[in-house]
Symmetry: none
Subunit: 200 residues, 2 copies
DNA sequence: GAAGTTAAGTGGTCAGACCAGTGGCGACCA
DNA sequence: TGGTCGCCACTGGTCTGACCACTTAACTTC
């Protein structure tokens, strides 16, 4: 009311600055020190504002290089999911259930849309669950879905570590190569869902 | 995997602390200085982590008083995020595709878990798409899924208005009453997906 | 007992220092 | 000439200590 918080003010000023300068994805923002200087606020306030912009997915910071506009029209609605974090086992169950459902959904979509190029990309992925599956989700060509999955996976990693045998990755890749939705789903259920049901 | 940035680590540590202490809405968190002391990081890092939690709607800070758990149910973030949406066609496609997929997922889950009480609740819902479907999603008993759907729906409403004939609601309710996943899915595809494919 | 004062604690902000990466520029060498 | 190496300026990341504005509660005073 009386004095609005500086970092909020700064947030909007930077946001306006981005709009007025017409910054495009990949473009660089002024350095934190210069922003602080220009807006006549402390660097810490600038940083708190930048954190918000980062969380919203508008910018990306790279140490030693600078702050950049993030690629893709990245409406970060999904971050809202963060509000679910309020404690409890029930939320964990919900998280696992939702994540598995979405992953199966992605497998289906991937089978429909998979290009040879994307297939190659998946093949080259390391045999860790998150890296492998990220490429599968990318193959769906649905950026929103990717965002949702990334958030779910991020939370998931703080709860469990999922390691699967090499056969899983090999069989899954074979199924994807054949674009066989049924086969991919079956493999997923056999390995992942079985393992997660035991973990509960 | 390993996040080198302190403020991200701190974010998760505070989050864990909230969980383990079982903090409820309205409860107070330790002061910034105490958190910094306890987690052995600088106060500025604590503040950047708190900013993130605040943006996610988990906490609320009151100058001179402290930091408190926030009651959930706040839509303020959605409004904030709303100012960032620059709707491209690709994003629309992703939104519609994802929302429809999730709704079908919810139909499946609802058929598995639907209680008579929830069924009644659905029956009493008005015949508007969002109100009807919200109750369906609620019937899945998965709060995370509900959160995701609410966000998707919120944005969806800024793009389209979906009106369906009464038959849809009646047929759907009949299918749910029978707990028939196949039937419900078929009705969904017949009415919703058909209509949306034309809208594109 | 009530009103006013004080002191301690809290979030908000700033300035300055240092660390750790990045990248460009110039000196040096083959 | 062409390449390489190393220096240095600049960037984000972090910490510290200081001060302000505000709240609360204990204390003093009438």
């Amino acid at each position: 009311m009386t004095t609005s918080k500086v970092y909020i003010e700064t947030f909007w000023q930077i946001h306006r600055m981005i709009e007025e300068a017409g910054l495009q994805p990949g473009d660089r923002l002024p350095s934190e020190r210069e922003l602080a200087d220009r807006l006549r606020v402390g660097r810490s306030s600038v940083r708190e504002a930048l954190r918000a912009l980062e969380l919203l997915g508008l910018i990306e910071t790279r140490r030693g290089e600078g702050t950049f506009m993030k690629p893709f029209g990245d409406h970060q609605l999904i971050q809202l999911l963060g509000s679910f974090i309020l404690q409890g086992n029930r939320e964990k169950r919900d998280l696992i259930e939702t994540k598995m459902f979405i992953e199966r959904m992605c497998l289906q979509l991937a089978c429909e849309r998979l290009t040879d190029e994307k297939l190659e990309h998946i093949a080259r992925a390391e045999h860790t669950y998150d890296l492998f599956f990220q490429r599968v989700v990318e193959a769906t060509d649905n950026y929103l879905l990717l965002r949702i999955w990334l958030v779910l996976n991020d939370f998931f990693e703080h709860v469990y570590t999922l390691t699967l045998p090499s056969e899983f990755y090999e069989q899954m890749w074979t199924a994807l190569q054949k674009r066989s939705c049924e086969e991919a789903t079956a493999i997923y259920e056999q390995y992942v869902m079985q393992k997660m049901s035991k973990a509960n």
